[in-house]
Symmetry: C2
Subunit: 158 residues, 2 copies
DNA sequence: TCTTGACCTCAAGTATACTTGAGGAACTAT
DNA sequence: ATAGTTCCTCAAGTATACTTGAGGTCAAGA
């Protein structure tokens, strides 16, 4: 396979640092769509190195496989994506990153305020209802760091 | 149970927005340590509302249950934690938050630089080896957004 | 007292993200 | 040609974070 511009799954694993099984799994999830040779073995394009590397970075940021698959789906399928394709996609990705960082920072600052004022008692804690600012996908609390329905709980024992 | 300063699991669920099953699960994981009444039912302290609320916030930030359990273990067990206990704990927690946000921001900025220069081709991409800056706990890629072992892959088709 | 809702335990199921293993075919080098 | 490595599929296992269900007990109001 050396010299070819198609990569076997093992070569791709070496190039990305991923395991072979993880790459198969990612294919199943739609992150890559390798061709097959006459013997049925996967043959990847060089551009797939970048797709998978992007996936790994995105995972660092807490994106799920299916979210990543959606982003990668924006890249052209037939031809290898070029700089413009990647830049466009990355720029969009960046927006989501910004949002995520912003939410984390906002939540941290609220926690910070709570530590600063020493309250944590919900009478004036800004973390109460901070949930509006935090991206709580799916399951989540109705009250954060608080006990709003009854305002007497903490100050008694302090 | 009304009027008592001990809460049933259902009351705690109402106050935190958690499900009853989740609270039982969290007990199993050591986030709370409720007493039992004569009939074997769980009786929670008011302070447990805060413990669980903290757990929920921490989960937003991407901490695992066991990490959260470790943090909560720093609070006094016998007596209800007071403001000073919570502040001390939160302050420590805040450090971890800062680190996490910093790492995300650093990684984003590297991605940003890549978009800016339009490279994404690994010859000078700063996301390559960005892994040093990114907290990759456990499994992780050896190469990020790149294909260092062979520097010719992207520029051909662009 | 009796009924109904809340609670109990324990086992199993769900989703995400993979890994591991069995049994077998393909590829590559000598 | 043949050995050794790599690849294939499919099923099952792992860890995290819970939920759901079965079968049964407890508590609180009428």
């Amino acid at each position: 396979m050396k010299g070819s511009d198609l990569l076997s799954i093992g070569e791709l694993a070496d190039r990305t640092g991923l395991s072979v099984s993880a790459i198969r799994f990612y294919e199943e999830k739609g992150l890559v769509h390798p061709a097959r040779n006459s013997g049925g073995q996967r043959r990847f394009m060089r551009a797939d190195i970048r797709r998978l590397s992007f996936a790994l970075v995105a995972q660092e940021f807490g994106f799920t496989i299916s979210e990543i698959a959606s982003r990668l789906a924006q890249l052209p399928e037939g031809r290898a994506p070029n700089k413009a394709d990647w830049s466009r996609m990355s720029r969009e990705f960046r927006k989501h990153l910004d949002e995520r960082i912003e939410k984390m920072t906002a939540l941290r600052d609220k926690l910070d305020a709570c530590i600063g004022c020493g309250c944590l008692s919900m009478k004036s804690c800004s973390l109460y209802n901070a949930g509006d600012a935090a991206a709580r996908h799916g399951r989540g609390p109705r009250y954060l760091l608080g006990d709003a329905p009854d305002l007497a709980s903490f100050d008694e024992d302090s």
